[in-house]
Point group: C2
Chain length 147, copies 2
Amino acid sequence: MNEALDTQYLESLQGYNTRRAALTIINTFMHRMEAFELSAVDFSILSLIHHNPGVTSRQLCDALGLLPPNMVVFLKQFEKRKLLMRSPHPNDGRATALTLTPEGKQLMKKAEKAAALSDQSATAALTPKEQETLQRLLQKIYLRPAG
Amino acid sequence: MNEALDTQYLESLQGYNTRRAALTIINTFMHRMEAFELSAVDFSILSLIHHNPGVTSRQLCDALGLLPPNMVVFLKQFEKRKLLMRSPHPNDGRATALTLTPEGKQLMKKAEKAAALSDQSATAALTPKEQETLQRLLQKIYLRPAG
DNA sequence: TATTGTTATACTCTATAACTATA
DNA sequence: TATAGTTATAGAGTATAACAATA
């Protein structure tokens, strides 16, 4: 039983290849982030706050393609874990400025180091030059999306 | 309001780049597949059956990383739409051999043509040579996954 | 005893409608 | 009137446990 299938046609599609590669890399990533109790999305949100102190919830949603009602849940969780602080936005009374607490900053410093290592491990089959090429080609795709 | 954020750090991570590119390509794909009332997963299952007539549910699950209880739902749906036929497996009385109906084959012929066009459109920012390179690099990653 | 396919069910992720307070 | 943030909720997608039929 359980012979291998002919997947040649699917492998000719970039959508299939890109999704499979993304799942492989993110799987490694999830594994490595367990130590910090962070999901991939947790990491991306906290990293953006880390590098953009004072950012608003709306800006995070736009940058990551998340919806406002779902962001609320993430931010609540981070606040509960004492990783995140909210303060009134200087220019807009409706908005909230988000920054990491000292604990949050310390966690993200470690997590970002681990993320770089995870990335390297997941793409270890590629030479450094190939890794650069891959990054360039992928960014060409998602920074210039087609209909 | 709504200034652009510094996403430089995230963009240095291949996991982020690959996921963003995958979402971009699959978004285009989903759009193009609406005409056939197929989701991306619908398409990948039917395409595997198309190119592997007589395949079993279990083989599909292994090839696509889906779980058996979830596959049941997809196959039921395809049967209801008269795209799929089940027949007893020649060697194994527990299993079922899956094949497309004539309607299913006809649908997938059209859908696979549309999929190739969608792929081309989503990666139009790349030269043909770059597209080949991308495919090669992505397959290197997911065919040789790291811990 | 192990495997194929199935049911029922739970959990996570993502999406929509509607509200409040500020602009 | 439009926007930021929130609540409640609905719908996909994905996961586990347990069972019948067959190996």
